[in-house]
Amino acid sequence: MIMNAEFQIWRGGKDSAGRFESYTIETTEGMVVLDAVHHIQSSQAPDLAVRWNCKAGKCGSCSAEINGTPKLMCMTRLSELPLGQPVTIAPLKAFPLIRDLVTDVSWNFRVKKKIPPFRPRKPDAPDGTWRIAQEDIDRVQEFRKCIECFLCQDVCHVLRDHQQFESFSGPRYMVYLAALEMHPLDVEDRIPLIKKENGIGLCNITKCCTAVCPEEIRITDNAIIPLKERVVDRFYDPIRKLFNLFK
């Protein structure tokens, strides 16, 4: 089944005024948005900037806003989209534009570097390693599915609309922190940091991050809320407060 479809792709660099440019191509069965972008790049717009790698939803490079929704271009089939009208493809809005569909996501890497790394307890099995039960790591393995596509960061109101990059680390790093905090071997205490530096209190659990996660990680329910609970237990427990008063 071959049909023509129109794509409106954001063109422009950080210093120039950007605009949507329209491209029409022939589409074929099973095509994904990234195929369409590559087709346009090789035939009509050779210098179109796009970031991609694995093309299989595993590396999280080709994040963009397709018809206004943050998605991976490689995992969005054209058959999911209304092709009767133009498909818009725009760069992630929360991050500074580099060019066309490519944004500067380096802030994310800086945030991660500030989080204290994994620190295991001493090996306690006779062979110098550890014994870990599968049921103790099921929940952490969910978090470790994250492909760092930053779609959750892009859609998060605190970052996207309020630009609170200094005071909130965003859903991706709440998932990262949850993976560390719930790791059965880890002995580091990050709870004070999660409250202060990572700003977990700023999340008002609208669950937009969960909605866009291509790995279907239940970010809000399984990572953010349990971390909020840990922060509350440590800092806002009235009984503990009373106890501390008389200590």
Partner: protein
């Protein structure tokens, strides 16, 4: 004059996949100043695509396993032209490297008694692959990344190297560009580690992403280093074949490890029809025995679907060529049939192969718990690469090291699944250690500004071509040509045709035209990558012409059998003093007697 930024390191690591990061961690741990060049963003390298697991004789699931069995499996898989010392080091050191990853936070799936779980894979005698569902590579790269960023290394993301620099015969640094701004960068370093991965982009159907243009292979060759085994390119038997856009994307061998079977359009399990003599003793007689093997029956032998990748890929090609293929020119891979054997088969499949379930559901609209997948061979892994010293990973150029896919020797004529992830760890670590040691003993060499100016000028020349071709078009034509003439089934006349046509491609690639400016210009990147792809294509083609036999991944219909004389040789590719590519056969080093004895005992 074209300007450039300058950086000084003790060790420069080119590539930030598993091997590069492991090397950078080891070098940083010695206190060396380490720079890491990352062609994409950090953590996106092709290691994330590795699915099935890391091969290491932990003997958690079957205590009969040990490094000796792993060693002989690797040698048998490589048809005995492997570098036996590398195979020994790899088998001995892999378990420790896996535990090291665990101590850095990796969470592998567990056995009932809380140890690292291991699964079956092609060519491995016992269940040996430590894994995390079917996303082992992601777990590994993320662990290395999250550990590495706290080791003091500096990462240059979205940066590509276009040339290595030498000073009187030894390495002095590297020259490249930054994708985002398009500016040039000069890196000074007395020790450089190549960890650039594979060459899959030279072919139309590949599991590799755009990054795998053979940069390390081409950079080393251009600098005068020797490459070996370039005729051995692994075609993974199971890539997706439909829809067209996803053609080539990997379908993990783990599907077959968990009980998946291969069928032709006559619903026949064709793998039972052709079992190579080297493996006859180890292969199941009946589907029933094969199933018992996948379920952990220790007396059962492996099903023929778990024969080595070279063999399975060729059997699939034969089915397709002889008209027994599926509608989209593949064959069927079926895991859904196991519902005959277990009560909660769909749940089991989704738990063991979540990535595959998701990938087929999303991209092909197929529910693998209910229906078979369509699969066919895809260009996957380069066994050949930079010739290195087994212990130190140093190439034939002092100060230049290589690790991972771009280095050669461990896998011989065919790599076993799971051995690449362990390769990255074992030899990444060694390369990092010895590169740091080399750097501590040797001062940085001098770089030559005239040479650097000419490299930069060459790189921007594509913007000045008045009527050159579109770089994407030339790349696609090259991929088609290599796919057709130097693919999975080879013959002299086609290879000679490929060689001839590469002369034209070299000229076309020099003259492609790029529009716009240097800021994140994918056309310009493609024009530069193309130069490397052509060098590796030439190396593959020449080596394939000269190996007049069939062995492992190299299959010649005009010489369909292994030849004992060829079986004692590696082929070396070097750049001649007149700039031409030359092939030369060198004899294998005799295997150490104790290792030879192991091989003979386990034949």
């Amino acid at each position: 004059m074209i300007g450039y930024d300058e950086w000084h390191y003790d060790v420069l690591v080119i590539g930030a996949g598993g091997a590069g990061l492991r090397a950078a961690i080891e070098a940083s741990a010695t206190g060396a100043r380490v720079g890491v060049i990352c062609k994409s963003l950090l953590g996106k390298a092709h290691t994330v695509m590795a699915e099935g697991g890391i091969a290491a004789a932990l003997s958690n699931v079957d205590e009969r396993d040990n490094w000796q069995v792993h060693f002989t499996d690797t040698m048998r898989g490589g048809q005995y032209i492997n570098n036996w010392r590398m195979a020994e080091l790899h088998a001995r050191e892999a378990p420790k490297c896996v535990h090291e990853l665990e101590s850095w936070g990796a969470l592998f799936d567990r056995t009932d008694d809380g140890r690292i779980l291991q699964r079956n894979f092609g060519g491995h005698k016992y269940p040996r692959l430590a894994h995390v569902g079917d996303r082992t590579g992601l777990e590994m790269i993320r662990t290395l990344q999250d550990h590495g960023i706290h080791m003091g290394m500096e990462v240059h993301m979205e940066c590509t190297i276009i040339s290595l620099l030498k000073d009187e015969g030894r390495i002095a640094g590297a020259f490249g560009y930054d994708r985002q701004r398009g500016g040039f960068i000069l890196f000074h370093a007395p020790a450089v580690i190549l960890a650039t991965g594979g060459v899959g982009r030279a072919y139309r159907i590949t599991s590799n992403s755009w990054e795998y243009s053979g940069d390390g292979h081409a950079l080393a060759y251009q600098a005068g280093a020797a490459l070996i085994d370039m005729e051995f390119l692994q075609f993974h038997p199971t890539g997706m074949v439909w829809p067209p856009g996803v053609q080539g994307i990997l379908v993990t061998e783990g599907v077959r490890g968990e009980g998946g079977i291969l069928l032709n359009n006559k619903n026949e399990r064709f793998m039972f029809n052709d079992i190579p003599p080297l493996y006859r003793n180890q292969t199941a007689d009946s589907p029933e025995e094969g199933w018992r093997y996948t379920q952990g029956d220790r007396d059962a032998r492996r099903p023929p679907e778990l024969l080595t990748r070279d063999h399975v890929a060729r059997c699939i090609v034969r089915e397709i060529r002889e008209g027994r293929g599926s509608p989209h020119k593949g064959v069927y891979l079926d895991i859904s049939w196991i519902r005959e054997k277990m009560p909660d088969a769909p749940g089991f499949i989704r738990r063991k192969l979540p990535g595959m379930y998701h990938q087929f559901k999303k991209l092909a609209g197929i529910d693998i718990t209910k229906e078979p997948m369509e699969v066919g061979p895809t260009t996957h892994y380069m066994m050949g690469g930079v010739m290195v010293d087994a212990d130190t990973q140093m190439s034939t150029i002092p100060g230049l090291f290589a690790a991972g896919e771009c280095a050669a020797g461990l896998h011989g004529a065919n790599r076993l699944g799971g051995n690449s992830l362990s390769d990255l760890l074992v030899f990444g670590k060694r390369a990092g250690l010895y590169a740091a040691e080399f750097a501590s003993q040797n001062k940085a060499g001098k770089t030559d500004d005239v040479n650097i100016q000419s490299l930069a000028d060459d790189a921007v020349s594509f913007f000045r071509q008045p009527d050159g071709e579109n770089p994407y078009a030339v790349m696609t034509a090259l991929q088609e040509m290599m796919q057709d003439l130097a693919g999975i089934v080879r013959t002299e006349s086609e290879l000679l045709q490929a060689k001839e046509s590469l002369i034209q491609f070299r000229q076309r690639a020099r003259k492609v035209r790029v529009e716009g400016n240097r800021e994140y210009n994918n056309a310009w990147h493609t024009a530069l990558d193309l130069q490397h792809m052509i060098i590796v294509s030439e190396a593959i083609t020449l080596a394939a012409i000269y190996r007049k036999e069939s062995r492992g991944a190299h299959f010649r219909i005009d010489y369909p059998d292994p030849d004992p004389v060829n079986g004692k040789m590696n082929q070396v590719i070097r750049k001649d003093s007149d700039g031409r590519m030359r092939v030369e056969s060198i004899p294998l080093k005799p295997v150490r007697p104790d290792l030879q004895q192991l091989i003979d005992e386990m034949k």
